[in-house]
């Protein structure tokens, strides 16, 4: 279970990335943040964001047509 859950379901681009970024900003190093989104663009956007900002993507899975991304704050 992640330390912080961010619900970005039904939100369109660019909101999933913005919500995740805000949550990571407010988190402490080492904390995990789980983003739940339904925007299909997030499948590409979140891994890209993770790579470029250096906050590793620990887990990614799809459940009930919702996309889950678990990111660890660097």
């Amino acid at each position: 279970m992640a330390d912080i859950i961010v619900d970005a379901r039904n939100l369109q681009c660019p909101m999933p990335v913005l919500k995740l970024s805000q949550a990571v900003n407010g988190a402490a190093a080492g904390q995990t943040i789980e983003l739940v989104a339904t925007d299909r663009g997030a499948l590409s956007d979140i891994p890209a964001w993770s790579k470029d900002t250096g906050n590793p993507l620990k887990e990614q899975f799809e459940q009930d047509s919702e996309y889950h991304f678990v990111v660890e704050k660097a």
Binding site: N10, L11, Q12, C13, P14, M15, V17, L18, L20, S21, Q22, V24, N25, W49, D52, T53, G54, N55, K73, A74
Partner: protein, 175 residues
């Protein structure tokens, strides 16, 4: 707000962390241009970049208060301010405007599909620390004073400042 979390890559010891820069020149007051300007600006900020948007000519309308009223002293400035669809809620479309029916339909669709409005993205940009630069020359041309523009902006600047920043920026866009 601390942005250190978004430093990209390792920072050499002893040097101040330098964030990558992104500059967008927002020259259009069309709804369909304001949207990508603010989507890219907020996303750049979410990427930890130091983002600046320079609003010039009709683009300045995005920053105008809805109740700014007639601006300027010259009758031509007043005419412009009367007919210019400025402020986030009044922006029109570059195509399929149909006397305002197009933008009304577009806004309705955006709401139905949970696309953030220009106003929401503008608020988000300010809270993410995006640097919003009004063009001083356009303000003078249109008779706009600081009080006609929304809060949260940086001091008005000119083309020189924009060029100086773009020289250093890794992303520069004209929209």
């Amino acid at each position: 707000m601390t942005d250190t979390a978004h430093q990209t890559g390792p920072v050499a010891e002893g040097t101040a962390p330098e964030r990558e820069k992104m500059v967008i020149i927002a020259a259009s007051g069309d709804l369909d241009k304001a949207w990508p300007v603010l989507i890219l600006a907020t996303t750049g900020a979410a990427y930890g970049m130091d983002v600046t948007v320079f609003f010039t000519f009709w683009g300045l309308g995005i920053l105008k208060k809805e109740d700014a009223g007639l601006t300027g002293d010259d009758w031509r400035q007043k005419m412009l301010s009367m007919f210019h669809n400025a402020s986030p809620a009044k922006l029109g479309l570059s195509k399929l405007h149909f006397a305002g029916m197009g933008p009304a339909m577009m806004r309705g669709l955006a709401e139905d599909h949970n696309v953030a409005s220009v106003q929401e993205l503008l608020d988000m940009a300010i809270s993410l620390g995006v640097n919003l630069w009004p063009c001083q020359m356009t303000m003078d041309l249109m008779g706009l004073k600081d009080e006609h523009l929304i809060d949260g902006l940086s001091a008005p600047v000119g083309a020189g400042s924009a060029i100086s920043l773009m020289k250093e920026a890794s992303i520069s866009l004209f929209i």
